[in-house]
Amino acid sequence: MRRPVLMPRLAEEVDQGVVVTWFVEPGAPIREGELLAELQVEKVSSELRAPCDGRVVELLVVPGGVVTQGDPIAIIEEATGGAEAPDAGDGTSAPAALPAAGGGGVAASPAARRLARELGVDLAGVSGSGPDGRIVEADVRTAAAEPFPATPISPMRRAIAERLQTWLGSTAQVTLTAEADVTDLVAELGRRARDDPPQGSLVAAAVRAVALALRDHPRVGARWTEAGLREPDRRDIGIAVALADGLVTPVVRDADLKDLPTLGREIDEAAERARAGALAPAEVEGGVLSVTNLGAYRIDGFTPLLNPPQSAILGLGRARWRPAVRDGAVVPRQLMVLSLTFDHRVVDGAPAASFLTDVVERLETPAALVA
């Protein structure tokens, strides 16, 4: 039941008084005798207490408001029956969410920022030597002193760099080189080139040789995991494709099960799609081993880096006419250096050498390879 709270008569001679302060808010539960407000008439102040249990409905006078004695100053709702347990409100309010850490950008000391502004140095291109990578003034000075303009690093380059560096740090990478006499293979591929459809390329042949050799040497394609070394159950081979500012390695699936023409076609198509930027993420995942070809350049052997998370990569040099010794005589043969980098954690030198020998022998036996 609602009832008004009236301004009490506090002084004989004077009619008016002031509500100085409210100690409750609308909606607040109250108990009988609880302090509601402080009132003042002339120099006499007085406490107004709740006449009953209940709840404050409305406050009719703002603090400081002048009221005539006897006028209503608040409405309260009297509690019916047993005292209502005042509810705890909305429960604990969730702490205000902290604003997301703003300011983004790079951590740099005020001195570094000022100098960067003065010299026109972009802080994004500066690496910080301070704690947690903070850029300090010396770093800006160093960056500014570079005589050559800095090209911003593309996300792809950053990604490649990080991945290679991390993988290099996690693996024990060793490279073996071997020379393959591909004179007969090249001649055979040449003969088949005039057929329709085209009969594949040296790269495709190498891919097929690797895939077949992997069947006999599965350890070379194993992966190091915490659970143990996982050997692959298929021979998906990655083919490194050079792009304008980077490298991508689309994967040819089941390379051991495909014939040379098919392999050649798939490799060409993947390379085209790669250069067009049209590869789907799935196409670059899951390779067991990669093949990278620098044969178009005057490169013989090199030390390719493993393509994470693989344990082996085969680099192909150019096939070049060189003097070779056969049956005691010096004869011109087309020779190609193969460079196999492998993760020594996963496979030791001898088995890796055995695998590479296998690949070489297959390349030197074109009849079986191109069949």
């Binding site: 000391s109 005020p110 001195a111 920022r113 030597s129 704690p131 003034e137």
Partner: protein, 341 residues
């Protein structure tokens, strides 16, 4: 044959006494009051020899009535005298602070500038010799926080005499804090830096002006009093490892030479404040804020501070030495600062 001019060396306490004596000779309105400042010459030597020179009318030993005689100093100043009144240990301010901060420091302002209170309150500060929690404080922050009184804290004999003469000639209340460890007293731990060259003639050191005691390139160490000595020792050690520390002696806490602090840190980019007073809500916070306000864009590392922790000063030597900033700690902090941490 080259004429060797002998350097005139005095201890800090003798320099203080000389400054007072020269001003008393010049101005008959100057007189000294305090406990044991007469016959004894001041517990820490600040008034040595003055009684014999000027007699008991001008060098007055008082009863133990700080409220009474410090209040009397204010009254005497209002009536044309220029009293020097000694509060024996700054730690005793509790018994008479009303006369200092509510009267001496405020009357000029309350009168709208119409009356002046030219009082110098000399007082001994500092610890490091096991005098315990009630006799070892510096309390710069406590006094500096309250408006109306200047505060000077000399660290060398030269500054001590110059600041004393300046304080006496200043028409405002000046709290002159001398550290017991810089006075060069024979009965305290020897301190080579407590003796220095002091010109014979009267001279002043400006109140409110800091002094670069040692120029440097790599960081600024801002400090006062005995900690200036520690900082200079630390700077020598740091120089051997290629770190050049600039030591800025504030000399005055009120007015604070904010310009000098900012100018120095703008050059060196790094700040270390060393304070023998309690850490929180005091001088270190004030100096760091001054630098943030005036040299923010020049900071190459977060400002750092060394101070007494917020504990009463312990009596036993190992604990007291542990809480006091030391040469070793200053060196370590400077290294951290230069390394960017």
């Amino acid at each position: 044959m080259a004429v060797e001019t002998k350097r005139r060396l005095l201890t800090t306490s003798k320099a203080v006494a000389e400054g007072i004596a020269q001003e008393m000779e010049r101005d008959p309105a100057v007189f000294v009051m305090g406990e044991d400042i007469g016959v004894y010459g001041g517990i820490f030597g600040a008034t040595e020899g003055l009684l014999a020179k000027f007699g008991p009318e001008r060098i007055m030993d008082t009863p133990i009535s700080e409220t009474g005689f410090i209040g009397a100093a204010t009254g005497a100043a209002l009536s044309g005298m220029r009293p020097i009144v000694e509060l024996m240990f700054v730690d005793f301010f509790g018994v008479c602070m009303d006369q200092i901060y509510n009267h001496m420091a405020k009357i000029h302002y309350e009168s709208g500038g119409n009356v002046r209170v030219p009082v110098v309150v000399t007082t001994a500060i500092g610890g490091g010799y096991s005098d315990g929690a009630q006799h070892s404080q510096t309390l710069y922050g406590t006094f500096a926080h309250l408006p109306g009184m200047k505060i000077v804290v000399p660290s060398t004999p030269y500054d001590a005499k110059g600041l004393m003469i300046a304080a006496i000639r200043d028409d405002n209340p000046v709290i002159y804090m001398f550290h017991k460890g810089v006075m060069g007293l024979g009965w305290m731990t020897p301190n080579a830096r407590a003796t220095g060259e002091v010109p014979e003639e009267p001279y002043t050191v400006p109140i409110g002006k800091a002094d670069i005691k040692r120029p440097g390139r790599d960081l600024t160490v801002v400090t006062v009093s005995l900690m200036v000595h520690r900082a200079l020792d630390a700077a020598e050690e740091l120089a051997a490892e290629g770190i050049e520390a600039e030591v800025l002696d504030l000399r005055s806490i009120v007015p604070l030479d904010r310009e000098a602090i900012v100018e120095s840190v703008r050059r060196t980019r790094r700040l270390l404040v060393v304070d023998e007073d309690y850490r929180s809500f005091g001088m270190t916070g004030e100096v760091i804020t001054t630098v943030v306000e005036g040299a923010f864009d020049y900071l190459d590392a977060p400002p750092a501070r060394l101070a007494l922790p917020d504990v009463p000063i312990p009596y036993t030597r190992p604990l007291e030495q542990y809480v006091l900033p030391s040469r070793e700690r200053i060196v370590a902090a400077a290294r951290e600062l230069v390394a960017g941490r």
